[in-house]
Amino acid sequence: MKRVTITVRSGRGRRYLYDDKTGCILPWSDLREAILRSKCAAGAADPEPANPSADPGDVAAETRFITEWFDKYGAFMRASDKPAPVPSADALVALVGAHSSQLNLTVTEACNLRCRHCVFSGAYLYTRTHSAAVMSPERAMRALDWYVELIEPQRRQQRSKVFGLSFWGGEPLLNVAAIRAVLERVRTLYPGLFAPTMTTNGTLLTRANVALLVDHQVNLVVSIDGHAAEHDRRRVYASGRGSLDLVLANLRRIKRDHPAYWADRMSTHPVYDASTDLVSVAEFFEQHADVVPRVATIGGVSLKDLVAGGTDRSSDGGAEYVGTVGRLRSDFDRAKTTNGRMSTYTEAFGNLEMSGLLFRSRYLDRSLPFMPFTGNCLPGHRVTVRVDGTLDLCERVNQSFPIGHLESGVDGERIRALLDETQTKLISGCYTCPATRMCRVCFAQTLGNGCLEDLAEQCQASRRAAVRALQRFVTIMETNPQAALQTEWPEFAGRPGDGA
């Protein structure tokens, strides 16, 4: 048995203990710590408190508290174990059918931009580069039918379930024919079964294209990174010319022509890097909120260490960046503490680190028994179809580990091999981790050239992020119990004395 807790201090200096077995954050004290240490040392036997100056009533109560949480909830300590064996290949294929929630279609590898950070820019290992390849409408419809067949077990059990259907590229609007064919087929054959989504660079949002998206109520995510100095630094045409002006013009027209669609179905997904002036970008989104749709999520590029772990990059010129990260997080924390306003960019940036904590699994949440830890999805949960019909386990991984092909279906042996490796290289070390419920490590970060890369750094970064999120969280909640952060108990959390 190993203790799996994290102790942090709030901004006021008050101690808290995060217990990874229950996912609960407990007010902590020297007395509780002494009793828990004694308990850990004594195993399952009654602990002997080591604080003779404490009130006997408090000692008895706190001893009972520690013992009861240990006995009732199995809190504080986890035994080393091993996950359930990975199921057979056939069983895994069936599991994909029973769990998959989203079909991603890479309808083209072509793009009219040459964004410098793009995953297909040639700057990254094991990924393809831009090409002129497009998915034929026939193949796109074949992929749709194949997926509907794959999820048939879920459809039988859960008639009302809605699945994701996402169009990717390249720039997907370079292949409107395939998109139109799929959307029409959904309308004709599978009405209500899918919630379509598209991610676009925003330059090809012509009236005709927008009309198609509005007609089918496609949720539209536009990549826009901020003001011209930021956006046009990376998102450029082959000539080097920036793309922001055109994107903003398109957004203005959409809002004018389709205001309800703009408000209800559109969002943005900015990215940033070590050279981003985060503060001025946040100001841009605040000032242009009447044109630029709300920021849903934010992504860092080429900055995995900074994004996940907050590594100090001052030695290579990242000090200013680290400073603006701190400023934005402070703005987020202040707004949460005072129930104040902030830009959607600031909120999304603040949530980037907090989300693992806010959406952590709790006491009775259960994972697949052969994947008890990590932030990994079951491969195929968001199955992605390439232009040539090859299947990837999701849209975020590189192209080094396909899991099948449209014509041959999901390859259970490939998934089994990946999961076997995951158990050996990753999950075996999770039993002693105190932050498994906040884990951010997933295949998108760890898949190298057809195998998992060394994960120690990823794990450490994930744990550092968890600790920092905990510190910020308890600091905010201690000051403002009604802060809009506590999502697990909408009725009770953070509302002591407030009445129900």
């Binding site: 954050i25 909830y73 008639r159 009445g499």
Partner: protein
Amino acid sequence: MPMSMRRYFRLASDCILVQDGKNGVIYAVSEGRIYLLDHAAYQLVSRAERNEPLDESSIGTHGRRLFEWLRDNSLGFFDDEPAYVDRLSAFGATAALGMDPRAPLIMHQVDWTITSRCARSCAFCPRGPATVVSQACMTCVRQRGTSESTNPVANLASRLDEVVDLGTRVLHIRGGDPFAVWDRLTTLVQAASSKFGLAVTTPGLGRSEDEIAAFSAANGLRLNLVILADDIADALADGPSDIFSRQMSVLDALAREQVSFGVTCIVSSNTARETEPLTQFIAARWNTTPAFSEVFEASATGSATASVFAAKKQLTGWNSLGEWFIRSHRNKCLFGRCELGLDGRIHPCAGLDACGKAAGDDRLAPVIAASELRDWWMGPSERLKGCSKCNLRYGCHPCTAAALHTAENGRPQCCPLDPADEIEPAALPWRSADSVRTIRLETSTS
């Protein structure tokens, strides 16, 4: 250590203070127990939960003793400084908030009413909307009258396929007395036995005891036999009536054939106060604990019904953190279920009005996917105005059908717990003594 050195007190992470603005109740989640606070105790606990500092000069000796009692019973802790208390949660945010719009609505059980015929003619039974039944899902009461113009199993194959599509595990056949329509029952059982677990609720009078026992054993049915508590009371006083004798014979035969069965007692104003002898009688003879269902008039707010409620005032604990979670966030009833009524329409449960369109137009899946039924099962447990401010709402009797049945403009017209009764409930002899305790500041804790 003097109180001045420990100025703060907070409830434990697995205890929840639920308030209605004037009163409060502590739900000790891990214990499955409810602590009713009198007004003075509530005021003090409420102050503490607001992170207000407490010292003996302001809370007095009784206050100190109250907090020490709470501490000594694992309900809270003293502290030197204000604290944020994260409440123990069963499930993560996505599940807790129902944030996943794709979450399916699975009907674990479908009730299928196949007849209104019955050999009995109970005075309360065919009276339609005037009759309210608590836990109607467990009784054979014909709330929608005795009309039976069509055969409800005529399009059996298509309806069974629809039920299969809902993810249903249990098909509950009910009436009237399903044994009174033998052909329908056998047809349905034969078609459905390979697809579902089957349960039948019946007064057990439509066939002989040997036929019922043999048929149930052969088809793996679970029988729920409905008995009037008045009949048992009469039997205990004067010997069994002819009808009750026949029902006893059926139960004896079921026990002899080792058929899985349960007993539901319908209580009245005569018997609601004294259910213990009924429980003992049934437990002694058939080694099972009966469930109790209650029948009353929808319009009745007068003395007769009030006396039943006063005696009932049933608060219940919960058996697990998961059960607490569901009760506090979702419909009180722990199942996903609906009823396919004799009127051909779909009802959230046997005690409630239909959802969907006119008879004959309803197909199960679209109706169940529609917002009306979805809201009923997936919506918060506070849809009733009268209930949303009641501090007893998470411990009240699990069946909300009765309250909803009598609701006008979202406010129940009658309630077994009488939410307007602010202080007195704590002084009344609650039936669920094991899971409910009272804390009074003025005298002593108990």
